[in-house]
Amino acid sequence: MRKARSLKKFMKFAALPLAIFTVVLVVPFVNGFYYTFTDWDGFKVDKFVGFSNYAESFADPKFWTTLRFTGLFVIVSLILVNVVAFGLALIVTSNLRSRNFLRTLFFVPNLVGGVVLGVIWQFIFNSAIVALANKYDWELFKQSWLQDTNKAFWALIIVTVWQSSGYMMIVYITGLVSIETDVLEASQIDGASPLRTLFAIKIPLMAQAFTIALFLTLRGGFMAYDVNVALTEGGPFRTTELISLHIFQDAFGEGNFGTGQSKAVIMFIVVALAALVQVTISKRYEVQR
């Protein structure tokens, strides 16, 4: 009787959403693992090939270029996005009268999708800055930054920081305002300088916000695709391909479904491990209240 009722409740409330989740997410995920060990060509599977897809992926020099480029991108964007976002959060939680207005401005890039943002900056780097550089004779900008691998890397970083820092700012704001005012008052009475208060009290008490923001930027860095495709499209000569774009090109551009999917599985493992390590380390700094 009770069992029948709980089954009925399951069918009414949970069955359909779970079925959709399974079909859309779980099945392709498991399938994807399986395909990497076969000679899958996008349509059919003839035989098992063991680890040869993985071996082939690692033998691809372009894949190594991508891995290095992605690794560097993740580290640099992780640091800069969070430093800038935390700074913005400090500004908009200060006693400025214009703080709400500023918060609104900082969040704006976040509303617009990465592709549109990337294209806007493509215009800025390729046309606007170059036109100005020729007019006022700025040597550094006369050639578009997107034509040069190293400068294109920094262009990607600039756009990413500009795009994501507003979102992470919100995470840090929530952390900053969650600190009890009596703790801050006590530190003021004890004569702590604002800088000391920041490092000795505020940051440790809001460590959870750092855990979240670091996790989100880490994951976002590995998954970045839109800005990459719209800003550089991987060029010049496929030297600025982040892992997402590389997988896309490998599979849909060149029809290498086997290695494309193997690289995707490698990406998943790297993301999962990196996130696990980051969250474990970050959690250690969280103060229990």
């Binding site: 409330f13 859309v24 997410l25 214009s98 919100i170 695709y225």
Partner: protein
């Protein structure tokens, strides 16, 4: 206030306002140049228009099929978000109120799935669903969004439902309300704040999504980000038109944000901290 604090405040203000303008400057550049003639743009991208022209907007509007892509974006976003709210709130209610091992494991799988990047299943996903997509690609896309959005939305609802005392459910069932009635008439209305969060987070994601629509949609059903990207690729030499296209792409969401600013920020904040 002493002098030092006042100078500190002035410095903060100066930095804040400079950064604030830097953050919106690229959009300003887009709107200003959209109103200029091609020659004026290259002469000085920073200058205000000498002669204002609306020709760029007219061209961009027709060439990127603005009205059609806006409608597509609206249809896809509204349906996906509404269905996601219905399905994930029900799933979360079931999982939060059923104290059993399976329900605990299902919840753990949902949470763990959030770490899986879309790219890890994109390739088998597309080959597997190709026949389904070719029947009706907008419906297929909405279906996919429900699948991909389930984990985070359910997680957010789950956290909220655990704060609602079970006595409320019991009172409803004693009064003779069925599960469904109790949920929709009593529990769901209580979850308004988290529903707002779920709606905003998913709407922003779906409205701006590019990769999945790029793989699924055709020219007739393309959304705003897709048509903007394709339009820019074709007409980037026509600077004025390209800028007008970008301005059109940015306008709807910007207008929405200016109206619902507070809800946006608090919604994002509530979703991010969970």
């Amino acid at each position: 206030m002493n002098t030092r604090a006042r100078w500190g405040r002035r410095a903060t203000f100066a930095i804040g306002i400079t950064l604030g303008f830097a953050y919106v400057f690229p959009f300003f550049l887009v709107f200003v140049n959209a109103l200029k003639l091609k020659y004026d743009i290259l002469a000085n991208p920073l200058a205000l228009p000498v002669t204002i022209t609306w020709e760029n907007f007219q061209q961009a509007y027709t060439k990127m099929d603005f009205f059609r892509s806006l409608t597509n974006s609206l249809i896809i976003t509204v349906f996906s978000v509404s269905l996601l709210i219905i399905s994930s709130s029900m799933l979360a209610y079931y999982l939060a109120r059923t104290k059993s091992k399976p329900s605990k494991y299902i919840f753990l799988v949902l949470v763990a799935s959030m770490i899986v990047p879309f790219q890890a299943l994109m390739i088998p996903f597309i080959s597997r669903f190709a026949p389904f997509v070719s029947i009706n690609n907008r419906a297929a896309l909405i279906f996919f969004y429900i699948g991909f959005g389930t984990a985070l939305s359910t997680f957010l609802y789950h956290g909220f439902i655990t704060t609602i005392p079970t006595e409320i459910d019991e009172a409803a069932s004693i009064d003779g309300a069925s599960d469904m009635v109790a949920f929709w008439k009593i529990i769901f209305p209580m979850m308004r704040p988290i529903t707002a969060t779920v709606a905003i987070i998913n709407a922003l994601w779906i409205w701006n999504d590019f990769l999945l629509p790029r793989l699924v949609l055709t020219q007739e059903t393309q959304t705003l980000p897709l048509s903007t990207y394709l339009f820019y690729g074709q007409y980037s030499i026509e600077y004025g038109q390209a800028m007008a296209g970008l301005a059109l792409a940015v306008l709807p969401i910007l207008a929405f944000y200016l109206v619902l600013q507070k809800q946006f920020i608090s919604g994002i904040a509530a979703g991010a901290v969970k």
